[in-house]
C-alpha cells in the first residue's frame, strides 16, 4: 500500500517537473503508435492485505486446527501451510502473524502457553519449507479470542487453531 502511494507521488512529481520546462523540445516526439490499452488499474485487494491473502489461498487454508491439548501439524495442516508458503514465496515482501488459540476448556495460564506452542508449530513448519523465520511473528491469545461461541465439541474444535494474519 505504502509502496503504491509513493510510486504515485513520484509519477505526479515527474509530471509536475515536465510541466515546468519552458523551452520547446528541439525535436518533436514521434507520433504515438498503436499500443494495447494499459491493463486497468488493479481494483482488487492490495498485495499483502489479509483480503488478498485470503482470496489467493482460500479462507480454509489460512487456519489450521488442533486436537485437544495437541499442537502437532498433521497432513491436512501441512497441505494448508504449503498453500500459505506458496503465497509468501510469491510475495516475498509480505510479513505475517500466526495467532495461536485454544478452546475454553483449559486453565488460563496453560492455554496461553499452549496457544504459543501451536503458533510456533505452524511457524516451524513454514520455516522448514523455506519461509524465513524473520517474516513470521507469533502471538498466543490462549482462550481469550474464540471464533465459535458455543460450549460444545464442535465449537471447541473451531477454536483450537493457528490463524495466519498478514501484516498489511
Amino acid at each position: 500500500m505504502n509502496t503504491r502511494v509513493a510510486t504515485g507521488l513520484m509519477l505526479a512529481s515527474t509530471i509536475a517537473l515536465a510541466a515546468c520546462q519552458k523551452k520547446a523540445p528541439e525535436e518533436l516526439p514521434p507520433p504515438p503508435t498503436e499500443t494495447p490499452a494499459p491493463a486497468p488499474a488493479p481494483t482488487g485487494p492490495a498485495v499483502g492485505s489479509q483480503q488478498h491473502f485470503v482470496s489467493a489461498v482460500g479462507q480454509e487454508n489460512t487456519v489450521v486446527y488442533f486436537d485437544t491439548d495437541r499442537f502437532n501439524i498433521d497432513a491436512e495442516d501441512q497441505s494448508k501451510l504449503q498453500r500459505q508458503a506458496q503465497y509468501f514465496s510469491q510475495y516475498s515482501q509480505v510479513t505475517f502473524t500466526i495467532e495461536g488459540h485454544c478452546d475454553e476448556r483449559g486453565t488460563r495460564d496453560y492455554n496461553l502457553a499452549l496457544g504459543e506452542r501451536r503458533a510456533n508449530a505452524a511457524k516451524n513448519y513454514l520455516v522448514s519449507i523455506g519461509i524465513p523465520a524473520n517474516r513470521i511473528r507469533t502471538v498466543s491469545y490462549g482462550k481469550e479470542r474464540p471464533v465459535a461461541l458455543g460450549s460444545n465439541e464442535a465449537a471447541w474444535a473451531q477454536n483450537r487453531r493457528a490463524a495466519t494474519i498478514t501484516i498489511g
Binding site: 476448556r105 488460563r108 495460564d109 496453560y110 502457553a113 506452542r117 511457524k123 502471538v139
Partner: protein
C-alpha cells in the same frame, strides 16, 4: 458511675500512650495508615459458649460516639458512622457464614459510657451469647479513633478489646479489624477480613471480551479499576506489601508481564526479553517474582528479583512448565507441568532442584496454590468438569470442594480457611468470583460490579 467515667477517660486517652503503632507505609487509595492503639490487656477468660460456632449468636449494636462531629469519612457525622461500622462487621461475619450476627438496625443503640460497661439487662434476652460494643471518635487531625470490645454475655465479662486510628477514607478497615478481632478470638484462627483482592473485570460479548485489572476490599467495597480495558489484562497478583501488582497485559500486542506500581501508576516489564511471558507470582517475602516465559514455543518457569536484574531459569523440560506457588517459608515451589503428557502438579526446591510430580489421582491438575498456613495445596482438578480441590503438600488426601461446570484458579484467604476462585457459565461464558470454606461449606458468590475472573487474594494488610 464515677468509676465508669474514669475507665472511659483512661481508655480514650490511651492513644497518647500507644506503644505498638503500625506504620502502614504508602497509602493504597486516598486513605492512609491504621495505627493500632495499645489499650492494655483485655481480660482473656475462656469463652463460655460450648456449641457449634455456626450457632453462636452475636449482637452488634451501633458503635457509640462521644460527640457527633462531621468527618470526611461520610456525609452525616460520627454517630451515623458508628452504625455503619457495626453494619460492616455484621456483613463480614454473616456473608462468610460465621456465627449468627444481629446488626445495629435490629438493636438498641448503646451510649458512649456503656461501651466499657455494658448494660447487661438490655442485651440478655436477645438470643445472643456474645455482645460487641465499640466507639468512634473524630480527632482534631480529621483521623478517627475506633475501639472494639467483645463481651461474653453468660460471664458478663470482656473477652478482648482493641483500638485503631485510621484515616477517614480507611474507616472500613477499622470495621474489618474489629470483625477480625471477634473472629480470631472466638475461633482461634488467624484474621482475614482486613485484606484486598485483585481480579479481572470482564464486560462485552464472549468473542470480544473487555478485560480490566481491578482491585477491591475483601468484602467488595472500595472497588477501583486500574486499567482502561483498551488492551486485555489477565492474572494479577498483589505484592505482599500491597504496593505493586504484577499482571499480564497485551498493551504492546503481545502477552507480557508488567510490574505496576500502585503509588506512582508506573509500570515496567518484568524482563527485557521480547518473548511472551505469563503467570506471574510473588514469593511470600516479596523478594522474588516467578514468571513463565515461552522461547520458541516452549514455556519454562523463571524467577527474578523484585528489584529487577538477571532472571534465573528454574525448569528446563520440553513440556509446558508454568505458574508456581511458594510454600509459606519460601523454600519450595509447587507448579504445573505437562511433561508427563498432561497437566499435573509438581514440586521443586526454590532454586529449581529436586523436581518431582505430586498429583497422581486421575484427571488433570492445574493452577496449584499453596495455603498461607502451609498445610494444603489448592488447585483446579480437571476430570470432566473443572473443580476446585485441595490436597496435602505430599500429594495425598484429595478433597474436591466445588461442583461447577468450570471452576478455576483458586486463591487463598490470608488465613488459609477460605478459597476464592472464578466460575465460568457454560455457553454464555459469563464469569464470577466465588468462595468456599476449606470444609466445602458456605459456597457463595462475591458481588462484583461486572463479570469477574482471575481473583488473587492478598495477605492481611500491613
Amino acid at each position: 458511675m464515677k468509676y465508669v467515667l474514669f475507665a472511659a477517660v483512661a481508655l480514650m486517652a490511651a492513644p497518647l500512650y500507644a506503644q505498638n503503632q503500625q506504620d502502614l507505609g504508602q497509602p493504597l487509595l486516598e486513605g492512609g495508615e491504621v495505627e493500632t492503639i495499645d489499650e492494655g490487656e483485655g481480660l482473656s477468660g475462656s469463652v463460655s459458649f460450648e456449641g457449634n460456632l455456626d450457632d453462636l449468636g452475636i449482637a452488634i449494636p451501633g458503635f457509640a460516639t462521644d460527640r457527633d462531629v462531621a468527618t470526611p469519612a461520610n456525609a452525616s457525622g460520627t454517630a451515623a458512622l458508628g452504625k455503619e461500622l457495626a453494619r460492616v462487621i455484621t456483613s463480614d461475619l454473616r456473608n462468610n457464614g460465621l456465627f449468627k450476627p444481629t446488626g445495629p438496625d435490629a438493636l438498641p443503640q448503646p451510649g458512649f459510657s456503656e461501651i466499657t460497661a455494658p448494660n447487661w439487662p438490655t442485651w440478655s434476652n436477645r438470643g445472643a451469647e456474645m455482645l460487641v460494643h465499640g466507639y468512634v471518635r473524630g480527632r482534631s487531625d480529621d483521623r478517627l479513633t475506633v475501639g472494639c470490645y467483645l463481651y461474653d454475655m453468660a460471664l458478663q465479662q470482656e473477652l478482648v478489646r482493641e483500638g485503631w486510628v485510621v484515616q477517614p477514607a480507611d474507616w472500613r478497615r477499622a470495621a474489618h479489624k474489629c470483625a477480625d478481632l471477634i473472629y480470631a478470638r472466638l475461633t482461634g484462627e488467624s484474621p482475614f477480613f482486613d485484606s484486598r483482592i485483585a481480579y479481572i473485570a470482564e464486560t462485552g460479548p464472549k468473542d470480544n471480551r473487555t478485560k480490566r485489572l481491578a482491585i477491591m476490599d475483601s468484602d467488595g467495597a472500595n472497588h477501583r479499576f486500574i486499567t482502561t480495558g483498551r488492551s486485555t489484562a489477565l492474572t494479577p497478583r498483589y505484592s505482599p506489601d500491597y504496593k505493586q501488582l504484577v499482571y499480564l497485559s497485551y498493551v504492546d500486542g503481545n502477552p507480557r508481564i508488567y510490574v505496576y506500581d500502585i503509588g506512582t501508576g508506573r509500570q515496567t516489564l518484568i524482563t527485557q526479553s521480547s518473548n511472551p511471558t505469563f503467570a506471574p507470582r510473588w514469593s511470600p517475602d516479596g523478594r522474588w517474582i516467578l514468571y513463565s516465559m515461552a522461547v520458541g514455543g516452549n514455556t519454562d518457569i523463571y524467577r527474578v528479583s523484585a528489584r529487577g536484574g538477571e532472571s534465573q531459569r528454574l525448569t528446563d523440560t520440553p513440556g509446558i512448565d508454568i505458574g508456581g506457588s511458594y510454600s509459606p517459608d519460601g523454600s519450595q515451589i509447587v507448579f504445573e507441568s505437562d511433561r508427563s503428557g498432561s497437566q499435573q502438579i509438581y514440586i521443586m526446591n526454590a532454586d529449581g532442584t529436586g523436581q518431582r510430580r505430586l498429583s497422581f489421582f486421575g484427571g488433570r491438575a492445574a493452577t496449584p496454590e499453596w495455603s498461607p498456613r502451609g498445610d494444603q495445596i489448592a488447585f483446579t482438578h480437571i476430570a470432566g468438569n473443572f473443580n476446585i480441590a485441595v490436597m496435602s503438600p505430599n500429594g495425598r488426601n484429595l478433597r474436591t470442594l466445588t461442583n461447577g461446570w468450570q471452576d478455576e484458579a483458586p486463591t487463598w484467604a490470608p488465613n488459609g480457611r477460605i478459597i476464592q476462585f472464578f466460575r465460568t457459565e457454560r455457553n454464555s461464558g459469563k464469569t464470577g468470583l466465588w468462595q468456599v470454606d476449606l470444609t466445602g461449606d458456605n459456597l457463595r458468590r462475591l458481588p462484583t460490579p461486572v463479570d469477574a475472573s482471575d481473583p488473587a487474594w492478598g495477605p492481611i494488610l500491613p
